[in-house]
Symmetry: C2
Subunit: 629 residues, 2 copies
């Protein structure tokens, strides 16, 4: 495998000083940014190529030629962060060494964060852009420093209600300084926008909402520049619908080169194969060199970096989400009331087979979680058993009122919140769901659980679907996990009761899910070498604990350590602690979990940074036992 | 004061059998329903007259003449429940005796609930109607029993993002059986829709979203019938924008009779004066009798009911929200960074003076909580100090992801959640905010507090604005409260620490807010007569407790009782219990609060039903002390 290469800052400076017309220079610069963007994503091992590439011509034009000093531009979709980083690196806003630190601790987060120079606002949670822009615009006026604000949105993002909620105020309260640019690259997470939830006549929609609108080819710089000129000159807020190509700039990434029979776009997130990366880097370099040659200047000088080898895990790898997909399909074969609803994450949520086999009971709602949950409410009122899917970071908070509303109808709905927990750490805090347990508390009758391994998935799902009388929340880890423990033979989930994964009698550690329990078992291993005997118990129930089971667990140990893959506040540990107080159990207790906003980084970096890796857990146990400070 | 009267069921039966054309009969029937509606609201002491009256012609036409047996109609806005009840009573769907039990325990809830016969779905939380309808429509099809579904919405409600989020799916997934009827009565909670957040060209919006749309006078039955015929015949979902008059049917309630210099509509919620009620009843009766006379039949027979006298409270009444409004305005005079944002509740949230004095720092967002909170985010990024206002039942859950997103930017924003707690009990569970503490947990740095009396308001607000470093949630009781306790002299709020309102040494009760602390003090009074000495402590902090303060409180008592005006799960009691476990405090603990969906009813009925009135608290203390089972 060849090494990776990127374009050093000096080359960007050289290109900026070339005698080219603005449009040609922008396109050249954008391709150079694409190359660095691809390098960063390849180095990080994940990132959003498709959407970064589709908007880079637009972003480059904005930052190099359109914006004045006071003007602001930010991305509402947020997952095009690598594109913006590549530009900010090229412009010297970000220290260039950061090019090597995408999605690394202390580096450039997977989604925008204001701690990064040049980042205006935190996004990654969708649909917030125009609202934020209105606040920024008003503040700028109050400061006596009015400015123009450009908000880049995705197209799938326009399925979010907040986007449409935010438009009227911009007209009614008079914000002509706001311009929305829709990066209309036609594909969202899974399939096309048109298939997922078609946007219809988007120009007519913006017009009906009172916005000045233009539609252009987003890769045609003169057309884009003209459209921006016109809408920013108008006396009302403006929208430019930029038709773009997802993955633009590398043939194999471009959605327009997909075979006719291919439905899923492969370069939304994650990282292409090394071969495809090499091909992409080469293609971009060749095109850049072509332009430089025509301009009569030297070809690109690039810098090479050795590819890092990713260590293959030694242990057993378990994939809980596919196990979930199989279990749900099995259940749905038996129970015709089961209906699966999805919010543009069917691949990630393991629903592809379900859709293929039971299309009439699969509802794709698009990025519209509130709509999905209330639709589920309607189905449940008629006796169906809906199962709603999204990432936990969205499913917990965005349709929170809708989930409660459904619960007040005393119907039964299962909510599956995927990508829960502090890892994967690469996408950053907008995607690290560490509040979902707390924010689904107080929903009458709602039971929450997280499985810790493939074997635990079907039992918990079955418990929710067939035994628990009320709504339920199934929290899922999306990572393939290296797992060294096994469930006890004959284990059957029983509400509020857990099981012991590893015996021990000095202290007991209670947790849930594959990530924490694996770290806990490794901590127990570390401690065993010192003669400290740690029992590790799996309590899959996140908001219930049986006081008798808890008393049994505490009967013969000197300390309890609870470990939350969640904020301590509102997590499982709080439920356990409260149950101890209720029952008068006074075993010394140490509660671990998150406190501040979780950092972005590689999984091992993040677990260590938040004190939840095996070493930190072992040290906490020592502290709890009075063996360390 | 004259007695009240209503129209008995037999009179509706008589009118149905009259030889009148359908349109005239519908209008007559609607006026009769208005009369009963006004009776119900007068009897209950509160209800939404304006919106009930504006839609009654539409509702009557739908239920009496438009709908087939399988068809469904429901209100998405929900606060027109009295209108629907009056129809369901007249039709015999509801037992007629229920006419006397609006907003009473076991009676007809303030907002729709599926436990009531004839109610399709729970609403009151806005913007969910079309989403619910899609679920219902799909279920009906899967059942092989397709039907038409009519969704009545408000106009202010269309400011909610979910409404627009729900429209495209109805087109893309083909739901021609769904018809939206917008009760466009031009006024929302406070002022006109146009002034709050203008809807712009509503017809163009529906059209742009691919819906078949008609616009008619909502009180012109033939025009309405024609529009419904046309849109339901179309092959796509349909919308009828019905221009209506808020309060239609009683001159003094009609928004069109408001003096030009009157900005606030007075009959949105609450109850008119006895004089206005009498005037309204008389006007309706007269018009009904006119029609009956022309039809050549006997005049209306009505039934009389004695007006109940409302007892004047004996003690001191405190109004926390006006105190809050004054404190915020004072603070804003001193600190020009403070900006108040409102979501169509400026009257209820005490912001009228703020808007008058500092209009440039008052932002009316309309019923658009997500947009409001993200706007606040933009302002905060630029150094302003936004204070967001809504009812707690909406502010906690609807913009939950937006609140978290703001917090990850490490800016400071204060959220004021009004109408928190289980009372007032009249509006029903959509408005009884008993989850807000839980769902705002895990927001990094967020501190939550609820003041217990007017005197505590300024100090807590000041603590949030000037001392606490991070976001804050101020939970407010909207009720004027009879309060017998006083804060200790020299009391200054200090995070996590409370104060003793009444000394005692057998047990300590910890709670917060005016309602629970007043009940607790009364419980202490009851217990004192039996020689049981209950200390009552006010801990305004909802998600923090100082372990030293807690240890002091528990040092010399035999039991702790925590009382949450909130679900037990995720409430203050859970934080206290967890703190006890953390600190190894093993005082016997009893945690009180809500468990299931709160009932609707008069405040005293509700407090008693959920076991949180003084008598129930006293009994709980006896149990905690082993003096009762």
């Amino acid at each position: 495998m060849a090494d990776l290469f990127y374009i050093p800052k000096a080359e960007f400076d050289r290109v900026r000083s070339l005698d080219l017309n603005a449009a040609d220079k922008a396109l050249l610069f954008a391709d150079m940014c694409r190359l660095n963007c691809l390098y960063m994503i390849a180095k990080a091992g994940s990132g959003h190529i498709g959407t970064s590439f589709s908007c880079l011509d637009i972003l480059t034009w904005l930052h190099l030629f359109e914006m004045n000093a006071n003007d602001i531009a930010f991305s509402s979709k947020g997952h095009d962060a690598p594109a913006l980083y590549s530009l900010l690196l090229a412009q010297g806003v970000l220290e260039f060494e950061n090019i090597h630190s995408l999605r690394r601790l202390g580096g450039l987060p997977g989604h925008p964060d204001v701690d990064t120079p040049g980042i205006v606002t935190n996004t990654g949670s969708l649909g917030m852009g125009v609202s934020k822009a209105k606040g920024l615009a008003r503040a700028a006026r109050m400061d006596g420093k009015p400015c123009r604000i450009f908000v880049l949105t995705g197209d799938g993002e326009l399925q979010e209600g907040q986007f449409w909620e935010s438009l009227p105020g911009a007209v009614n309260q008079g914000f002509p300084e706001i311009t929305v640019i829709v990066d209309h690259n036609k594909f969202q997470s899974d399939v096309t926008v048109a298939e997922t939830s078609d946007l219809g006549d988007l120009e007519a929609k913006f017009q009906a909402f009172g916005w000045e609108v233009r539609r252009v080819d987003g890769h045609d710089i003169p057309a884009l520049a003209k459209a921006l000129r016109e809408v920013t000159a108008a006396e009302r807020p403006g929208a430019v619908i930029a038709d773009t190509i997802k993955g633009k700039g590398v043939r194999r990434f471009e959605h327009t080169t997909m075979p006719d029979d291919e439905r899923y776009y492969r370069f939304h997130s994650g990282c292409p194969t090394a071969e495809l990366v090499d091909e992409g880097l080469a293609e971009l370099r060749e095109r850049i060199d072509d332009v430089l040659r025509v301009a009569g200047v030297a070809p690109l000088e690039v810098a090479w970096v050795a590819r890092e080898m990713v260590a293959t895990p030694a242990g057993r790898i378990e994939r809980l989400v596919p196990a979930y997909g199989r279990a749900l399909l099995d259940a749905a074969r038996r129970d015709r009331r089961i209906v699966a609803l999805d919010a543009d994450l069917r691949l990630d949520c393991g629903l592809v087979d379900f859709e293929r086999e039971l299309p009439e009971r699969f509802i794709e709602c698009g990025i519209a979680e509130q709509d999905m949950v209330s639709q589920a409410g309607g189905l449940a009122l008629r006796g169906y058993l809906p199962v709603c899917h999204s990432f936990a970071c969205f499913l917990g908070p965005r349709p929170n009122e809708q989930i409660y509303n459904n619960a007040t109808e005393k119907t039964k709905i299962v909510y599956m919140g995927n990508l829960a927990g502090v890892v994967p750490g690469g996408p950053g805090h907008s995607h690290q769901s560490v509040r979902d347990i707390a924010i689904l508390k107080g929903v009458p009758g709602m039971l929450q659980a997280e499985p810790c391994c493939e074997a635990e998935v079907p039992g918990l799902l079955e418990h929710f679907l067939a035994r628990h009388d009320g709504p339920a929340y199934l929290r899922m880890c999306i990572l393939p996990c290296e797992i060294g423990f096994e469930l006890p033979a004959g284990y059957v989930p029983e509400t509020g009761r857990g099981c012991v994964l590893r015996e021990g009698n000095d202290a007991v550690l209670i947790s849930y899910g594959p990530v924490m329990l694996e770290q806990a078992c490794r901590a127990a291993e570390l401690l065993a070498r010192e003669g400290v005997s740690l029992r590790v118990a799996n309590l899959p129930w996140l908001n219930r604990v049986d006081p008798r089971w808890l008393a049994d667990m505490l009967a013969d140990v000197r300390a309890l350590i609870t470990v939350d893959n969640h904020y301590i506040e509102g997590g499982q540990g709080e439920t356990i602690a409260a149950a101890m107080a209720d029952a008068g159990l006074s075993t010394p207790l140490l509660r671990l979990g998150l406190t501040g906003t979780p950092p972005c980084g590689r999984n091992d970096e993040v677990l260590s940074a938040v004190g939840l890796d095996a070493g930190s857990l072992a040290q906490a146990v020592r502290r709890a036992l009075g063996l360390a400070d």
